[in-house]
């Protein structure tokens, strides 16, 4: 039975439960066992045996969703009441928050486990976790991408039916691409951030990591909606239904050639896969239009000012006073602060705190933070102009396929992974990555982006392409079996 269960998509499992053909307890037990065995280091905490605890008691006023109880893997940085929520950092090791994130409570799904990630979501390879790197289920010598690497690996490896991740500059889309699954970064403001341990507040969004587009639509449909606890979260204008499109007739797809050519490290095989996917879209009826995003090539620079600046403030609360690690507390206050933070944060987190502090410091603000904010304005304007001509814009999700563990040592080279995903983050618009085939046995991701709150259209287009591509993710699930 377990093999059959594993073959079910989350939506199919939900339907089977609803029809009385699948026992939710059996489904939970099946995945719990696989997650507990975890050959990928994808999980930092797995639910204990037995029926799932009612972790996600919906907070007052929030009805549990009508979703059938398909177990959910949740990125470590979502607060889950009484369950470790550490953002994969030593500074929060063992921290069990007294409340749950809105999106987790709202979904009300059985919590399968908390997934590994880059520390405080800072990274593109999941090598920055304080609890060790995650292996890519397609090739355990390679990274799963990051920062939602544990969630992506768990779904791709068949350790979880679906998962929640967060995306600040590509942290859902890039690991989805590296792991051969679907990852949706919603419009900024579509999903509540309350209870998500913040990285960069003006960019962070929670989104689904799933086996297919239908699962993404189903999970996303239950995540959206205004939250009285998050002032940046607004009511979603559409109802997200099950996507049904099988062609792209009448859809104008924009190809931002200037952006594609601007990066040095675009792998020719990835480029070839991208071109083939665009051609496939054309054969499905899409009109292919060249568009220009003249400032998008500067998105990475703006991003690496804005995100660290916000992070430097967001991570200042880890001071050893109220929760988490404390070192030097028996000494003076300054020693407590500097030792707790100096030893509690990993190298990449410290690098970004330093970068952000520098960018905001007296004398540098205008040159860095102020300039980056203006570039952000330009990038948004570029997208607005482009969406006057086309419905969606497409790019490769990442310039390469998954690379080897430890293969990218230079921080700047690592940042280039996000070259195609960061512009959408800065503009606050939705983007989805779907698997578009394999290069040398490793998945390649295809990114589609649309105007703010166009998720319904985006999911329909992704669905049509997905059907035509017919990507098979089974090898990863087989490989993920210990």
């Amino acid at each position: 039975m377990s093999d059959t269960i594993l073959e079910l998509s989350a939506a199919a499992a939900a339907a089977a439960i609803a029809a009385g053909d699948l026992d939710p307890a059996e489904l939970f037990a099946c995945y719990r066992e696989r997650a507990a065995a975890d050959p990928l280091n994808a999980f930092l905490w797995v639910a204990p045996p037995g029926p799932p605890a009612g972790l996600t008691e919906p907070t007052a006023g929030e009805a549990a969703t009508p979703l059938a109880p398909v177990p959910l893997a949740v990125k470590d940085l979502f607060c889950t009441q009484g369950v470790p929520s550490q953002s994969a950092s030593k500074i929060l090791e063992g921290y069990r928050p007294p409340y749950s994130a809105t999106v987790v409570a709202r979904l009300g799904l059985p919590l399968l486990g908390k997934t590994n990630q880059d520390e405080f979501a800072m990274g593109s390879s999941n090598e920055n976790s304080a609890f060790g790197p995650v292996a890519n289920p397609w090739d355990r010598g390679r990274v799963p991408g990051g920062s939602s690497g544990g969630s992506a690996a768990a779904v791709a490896g068949g350790l979880a039916p679906w998962a929640l991740g967060t995306d600040t500059g590509g942290s859902i889309r890039q690991p989805a691409a590296f792991c051969g699954i679907v990852g949706l970064k919603p419009t900024y403001g579509a999903v509540s951030r309350y209870g998500m341990i913040a990285f960069a507040s003006s960019l962070d969004q929670a989104g689904p990591l799933t086996r297919d587009v239908t699962d993404a639509a189903l999970l996303f449909s239950q995540m959206v909606g205004a939250d009285p606890r998050d002032a940046t979260c607004v009511a979603f204008p559409d109802r997200i239904g099950r996507p049904t499109a099988t062609d792209l007739a009448g859809v104008r797809l924009g190809i931002p050639s200037d952006l594609l050519e601007a990066v040095d490290g675009l792998d020719p095989a990835v480029k070839a896969n991208f071109d083939a996917t665009v051609a496939l879209a054309g054969s499905l009826g899409a009109e292919i239009v060249e568009v220009s995003l003249p400032h998008a090539e500067h998105a990475l620079s703006a991003y690496y000012i804005i995100a660290p600046a916000e992070a430097s403030a967001n991570l200042a609360r880890f001071d050893g006073v109220r929760y988490g690690l404390r070192l030097g507390g028996e000494q003076d206050l300054l020693s407590m602060y500097t030792r707790t933070r100096g030893e509690g944060f990993g190298p990449e987190v410290k690098r970004r705190i330093m970068l952000g502090t520098y960018a905001l410091a007296s004398g540098y603000y205008d040159a860095y933070y102020g300039t980056a904010q203006k570039v952000r304005t330009r990038i948004s304007e570029d997208f607005t102009a482009a969406f006057g001509q086309v419905d969606l814009i497409v790019t490769p999700t990442a310039p390469t396929v998954a690379f080897g563990l430890g293969a990218v040592a230079d921080p700047l080279a690592m940042y280039l992974n996000d070259f195609y995903t960061v512009p959408m983050s800065l503009a606050g618009i939705p983007a989805i990555s779907i698997p578009s085939g394999l290069c040398d046995g490793l998945p390649v991701g295809f990114q589609l982006a649309g105007p703010a709150f166009s998720e319904a259209r985006l999911l329909e287009a992704a669905h049509a392409l997905e059907q035509a591509i017919g990507f098979d993710g089974a090898p990863a699930r087989a490989g993920g079996t210990a």
Partner: protein, 477 residues
């Protein structure tokens, strides 16, 4: 020896009397056990977010309007970054380049700006009165106060003496008290004042180096602290020394000014727009609605009381600056038929003396009508002043109507015509021939014992002036 002109700017923090905190739904409270009014947001737990309190914004608009400020249609919050144990997120959500209110004036002092922000937690040190911790190297943090809404008001440097500082702060306090948006109690910390002080030789065009004075938690301490700092700066300049820009703590016990330990490094607050809060927009309609609901402010009320009722400026000021007393006064004037408002105002101190200055007279058994009637009885000499005080005692303790009290207690004035008083005066002269002789010899001071005898005998019902006239008459003067 040149004379010096002090220049003083004030920075005032006002705690708003909302039901909940600035950015979360925790109740405001005072004097509760530590850390019982905290949630993920005000404790700065990972993942928590702020949501702005509508009432706090309305109160801030009211303060801005009362201070004659322009209200910004669009303003935003910033993060002010600094590490301190009482600052849970290590940043304070405050306003920076666009405050909600700016460019105002109250009395003779211009207002630079007024902005909304959140208060810090309370740090409790060893030996700080609580007796709760004993190791001088440890402190404890109580986050109940963290996130309390504040309005910070910054004046232009328009104050030039310690007395003016105190008087103006009093005007500010009463203005805000009239709005009903804060307790504005310095002893409780709901009104806090720092002062920037500099001195410059008379005639100098540039201001001197300023110092910042903290911790002046009463009006008297503000005046004394500023006076001490002005004297200190002048003494230094006279001695040929310079003034260092620093923050000083005024020790109210010793009167000393102590430099606060300099921070580990110069302040660099790294302000940047708060990404968790979209822009704060205030519509013209909302401003108009708050403006329409503004009560009469003390400065305006003093002018009106003086003009309408002919009160002396000091008395009008006193009534205008004590809202409940002023209201009681006007109610009494309205209830009285033909009683002189000045006389009513002049009797109010006697009432305050009996009920206490903190008590709203409306909350005592004395009704404005009864009070006015009492003043009227004295005015028509139906009862004497002394008897009036006795009646007021009864009103304060039991309430009731003055006329009924006078009748029941036989306090009516003894009329000169009915002969009763003549007999008592004769008895007084007979009882104290020495005094009578002195009065007869022209010593007016000797009248006292004779009048006192009459008052005792009549239980204060006699009119003092009438008694004097009768004594002189009987002595043939």
């Amino acid at each position: 020896m040149p004379d010096y002109v002090p220049t003083i700017g004030l920075e005032i923090h006002v705690q708003l009397a909302t039901a909940t905190k600035m950015f979360c739904g925790c109740a405001l409270s005072f004097g509760d056990p530590a850390n019982v009014h905290c949630c993920p947001t005000c404790l700065g737990l990972p993942g928590a977010l702020p949501v702005t309190n509508a009432q706090a914004i309305e109160y801030a608009i009211a303060i801005g309007l009362a201070l004659g400020c322009e209200i910004a249609p669009v303003s935003q919050f910033h993060r002010k970054n600094y590490f301190y144990p009482d600052n849970p997120k290590a940043y304070q959500i405050s306003q920076y380049d666009v405050p909600i209110a700016a460019h105002g004036r109250l009395g003779d002092v211009r207002i630079h700006r007024a902005h909304v922000e959140e208060d810090a937690a309370k740090l409790i040190h060893a030996g700080a009165g609580s007796g709760r911790i004993h190791d001088a190297r440890r402190s404890i943090v109580d986050f109940n106060r963290a996130g309390t809404p504040l309005v910070e008001i910054v004046t232009e440097p328009d104050v030039h003496s310690p007395e003016q500082a105190r008087e103006w702060l009093t005007l500010l306090r009463e203005t805000i008290r009239a709005l009903g948006v804060s307790d504005v109690d310095m002893s409780q910390g709901s009104l806090r004042c720092d002062a920037n002080v500099s001195v410059a030789p008379t005639g100098a065009t540039a201001l001197g180096t300023k110092t910042e004075l903290k911790n002046m938690n009463s009006f008297a301490f503000l005046e004394r602290g500023v006076r001490a700092e002005i004297a200190r700066q002048i003494a230094r300049l006279e001695a040929g020394e310079t003034i260092t820009q620093e923050t000083l703590h005024y020790d109210v016990a010793t009167g000393e000014l102590r430099s606060l330990r300099s921070k580990e490094e110069a302040h660099d607050y790294r302000y940047f727009p708060e990404p968790d809060l979209p822009l704060l927009r205030v519509s013209a309609d909302q401003v108009a609605a708050v403006r329409a609901a503004l009560p009469e402010l003390p400065a305006d009320k003093a002018l009106r009381l003086s003009a309408t009722y002919g009160l002396a400026p000091e008395r009008a000021h006193e009534l205008a600056f004590n809202g409940p007393l002023g209201t009681f006064f006007e109610a009494a004037v309205a209830a009285a038929d033909g009683v002189d408002p000045v006389a009513i105002a002049n009797w109010l101190p006697a009432l305050i003396e009996r009920v206490g200055s903190d008590i709203d007279p409306a909350a005592t058994p004395v009704t404005p009508a009864a009070f006015a009637a009492l003043v009227g009885l004295v005015g028509t000499k139906t009862i004497s002043r002394d008897a009036g005080r006795t009646v007021l005692d009864r009103l304060v303790s039991d309430g009731g109507e003055p006329a009924a009290i006078v009748a029941a207690e036989g306090l009516g004035a003894i009329a000169a015509a009915d002969g009763e008083l003549d007999a008592v005066v004769a008895a007084a002269i007979a009882a104290d021939p020495d005094a009578a002789a002195k009065v007869a010899a022209g010593n007016a001071k000797a009248m006292g014992p004779l009048v006192g005898y009459v008052m005792r005998e009549t239980r204060g019902r006699a009119d003092g002036a009438e008694v004097g006239r009768l004594i002189r008459a009987q002595l043939g003067l």
